[in-house]
């Protein structure tokens, strides 16, 4: 029987696409592809580390682009950012299917990998949208609007444009605590940054060591608005939590004010 290999790569999209390239170049039978943190403990298969090669990645992407709709390309990118276990295997199967067929098949939802990638991409899209909705900026003492988040998926690259075009006249930082990097806007450009944050800055609240004196007042005003706009006789806890899952409450000013 032909030997199966397990590939490992650096975790970047380019790295993953380099793996895809290798499967063609060396006619590999791939059992799985893993990002760096994973222990490679596949029995009975050989493991290989693939070095990221931007040139090869570009070649895979451009041949994909010829046969894939923009929605299909978006699904591939989004699903990749999910960092879900085993998503590389599904992406590889989808990409190989697209490249093997003459017709455009990236919307063939009866193919298991295409459907899986679309479903994961949908989850990532939802998380992106939730971050655009639930991020709460707090005004710091040095006049930067600051937000800390812990998203399920790596969505910072996806929300960059939205925040840039919306908050063009204020300095802001959105920081992913889980992945320890952030976006910073300086009134001109958005850059990726790494900070050494004091944990006391937190995700909500307005400790005076960090935040502007007016910050707590606006949080209280918002909280008042949130309370007053509710219609008690229509109470619907189930719907409330369905739209606003509890794991997002930590971001929300209206759910985290110590005293009313």
């Amino acid at each position: 029987m032909e030997q199966q290999v397990v590939l490992s790569y650096d975790g970047s999209l380019e790295g993953f696409l380099s793996c895809v390239f290798a499967t063609y170049e060396e006619k590999l039978k791939v059992a799985d592809i893993f990002p760096p943190e994973k222990d490679l403990q596949e029995l009975f298969s050989e493991s290989r580390e693939i070095i990221t090669d931007p040139e090869k990645a570009k070649r895979v992407w451009s041949s994909l682009r010829k046969k894939t709709s923009s929605a299909g390309l978006r699904d591939i990118k989004y699903a990749f950012l999910s960092e879900t276990n085993g998503i590389e295997r599904q992406l590889l199967a989808m990409i190989r299917y697209i490249i093997a067929e003459d017709a455009a098949v990236d919307r063939d939802f009866s193919h298991p990998a295409v459907l899986k990638v679309a479903q994961v991409a949908k989850k990532v899209g939802r998380e992106k949208h939730r971050m655009e909705a639930f991020i709460r900026f707090r005004l710091t003492r040095d006049a930067v609007y600051f937000a800390a988040i812990e998203p399920d998926f790596n969505v910072l690259p996806l929300i960059k444009t939205h925040f840039k075009s919306r908050y063009a006249d204020q300095k802001w930082i959105i920081y992913d605590l889980r992945r320890n990097y952030g976006l910073a806007y300086d009134l001109k450009e958005v850059t990726f940054i790494t900070l050494d944050l004091d944990p006391a800055i937190g995700i909500s609240g307005a400790p005076e060591a960090f935040f502007h004196t007016s910050e707590i007042s606006f949080q209280k005003l918002w909280n008042q608005y949130f309370t007053s706009t509710n219609i008690k006789s229509r109470a619907n806890e189930k719907l409330h939590v369905q739209h606003l899952p509890k794991r997002y409450w930590k971001y929300l000013t209206e759910k985290n004010l110590p005293e009313k």
């Binding site: 098949v105 919307r107 063939d108 939802f109 009866s110 193919h111 459907l115 949208h129 655009e132 909705a133 639930f134 991020i135 709460r136 900026f137 707090r138 005004l139 609007y145 937000a147 939205h162 075009s165 919306r166 908050y167 063009a168 006249d169 204020q170 007016s214 007042s217 606006f218 209280k220 005003l221 918002w222 008042q224 608005y225 949130f226 309370t227 007053s228 706009t229 509710n230 219609i231 008690k232 006789s233 229509r234 109470a235 619907n236 806890e237 189930k238 719907l239 409330h240 369905q242 739209h243 606003l244 929300l252 000013t253 209206e254």
Partner: protein, 419 residues
């Protein structure tokens, strides 16, 4: 800024504005091209949800709850003994900007009680919008209420700064309006609607020739009807809605289950239940009209004055039209595919894409995500197993009800057990 005073006003004037259900912030085309604040060119965003499950997208407040009118259904009516308050124009501007900068909201929805007269009130609303646009360089979403009876000149000006304008018809029948809002005339509602409609048409024509034509209410206009306050039927409501969609190019019609705010013999008593399920069925009908190519007369007519509360309106229609089913999922045209119970818009598109590649079977359909418990009785696919055995519609309805669950089921069964 006197935060305590603002907070008190906010509590009064947000509380009074909350019965206006519209919170949409989508459909505008205002881009942030000037490096100012805000952008409303994309889809709407719900930044939070209240404990009643409604979206919070806009800062929705009244400028004041002083009002010269005495409409029975309204909490702000003249004769109601409540605390009154009024915001200054600058206070609303500051609140909007500071909330927006913190990513709490998509923009402002400003309404008002009518003080002095219609034009005076409308002018104040416009001042807020104008200040936001011209002084604060704000490109977020602004929804202004058109005050019934406001002059054409003011409605023209309002549309230059607002993304959406709306005037709530509130009572779907003229007779109901006469009974519950004796000070208001039907024509007063229609006049600003007509003006806004014409301005939008004119803007669309002119902007084709001259690209710099200033935008006019790019997110269109909407209206709202109260459900269950004046004894109207679902047919009355949906026929009025259809009229407003067609005649005034409404972007949206909203349906608001009446929340009792007063003891008045003309209205449901305090403490009576808000007709949430009925409201839900009306929205489903609205969707069928706007996205599923249904005609209102197919859903509501002389024989069907009210919607079936037990099942959704599409299923209800399908049960009355069994002769059109079952349809073959692999061949049926889109128009009819849209009409299959349990298959929504997204699934329709997925099916249309997927069936180009292979014949779909039950497994495919399940994975695509259609609601099999309803759909399976109305379709065939690439399989020999069918659920189509010609049972009566009544029997089928009971089977479907028995194999599904609904959050309002408790309410209906208690209503039915009366008989």
């Amino acid at each position: 800024m006197d935060y305590e005073r603002i907070k008190e006003k906010l509590s009064i004037l947000a509380d009074a504005a909350k019965y206006d259900v519209s919170c949409s912030s989508s459909g505008s085309k205002r881009k942030n091209t000037t490096k100012g604040l805000g952008d409303s060119s994309g889809m709407g965003i719900c930044h939070s949800y209240t404990e009643d499950g409604r979206c919070v997208s806009l800062l929705k407040i009244l400028l004041t709850n002083h009002c010269i009118f005495d409409c029975a259904y309204c909490v702000t009516r003249k004769s109601n003994d409540i605390k009154r308050a009024a915001f200054k124009v600058q206070e609303v501007v500051d609140l909007t900007i500071n909330f927006y900068r913190r990513n709490y909201i998509e923009g402002l929805f400003l309404s008002s009680g009518i003080f002095k007269d219609a034009d005076y009130t409308m002018e104040r609303l416009i001042q807020v919008a104008k200040k936001l646009r011209l002084e604060e360089n704000f490109n977020g979403y602004i929804h202004l209420k058109s005050i019934p009876g406001a002059s054409d000149e003011l409605m023209r000006e309002a549309g230059l700064y607002a993304d959406r304008l709306s005037v709530n018809i509130e009572i779907p029948t003229k007779s109901g309006l006469k009974l519950l809002a004796p000070d208001k005339k039907h024509e007063d509602f229609i006049k600003p609607m007509e003006k806004v409609k014409n301005e939008i048409i004119q803007y669309k024509q002119e902007s084709k020739l001259i690209r710099s034509t200033p935008k006019y209410a790019p997110a269109g206009q909407s209206t709202q009807m109260i459900v269950g306050a004046s004894g109207e039927s679902d047919r009355d409501i949906m026929y009025s809605a259809t009229f407003f969609y067609k005649k005034y190019n409404m972007k949206r019609v909203y349906y608001s289950g009446y929340v009792p705010v007063t003891n008045d013999s003309r209205l449901p008593a305090m403490g009576s239940q808000v007709p949430l399920l009925r409201e839900n069925r009306l929205y489903q009908t609205d969707w069928l009209l706007r996205f599923y190519e249904f005609d209102v007369r197919e859903l509501l007519n002389e024989d069907n004055l009210n919607l079936d509360l037990e099942v959704d309106p599409k299923l209800s229609w399908a049960l009355r039209n069994r002769h059109l089913f079952p349809v073959d999922i692999n061949r049926v045209e889109k128009r009819l595919l849209l009409r299959v119970p349990g298959i929504g818009l997204k699934s329709v598109n997925k099916i249309l894409h997927a069936r180009k590649f292979r014949k779909l079977n039950w497994e495919h359909l399940k994975n695509i995500g259609i609601a099999m418990n309803r759909a399976k009785y109305f379709i065939t696919c690439d399989s020999r197993d069918f659920e189509v055995k010609e049972p009566s519609s009544e029997y089928l309805k009971n089977v479907i009800l028995g194999t599904s669950s609904g959050k309002f089921r408790k309410d209906i069964s208690s209503q039915l057990s009366l008989f």
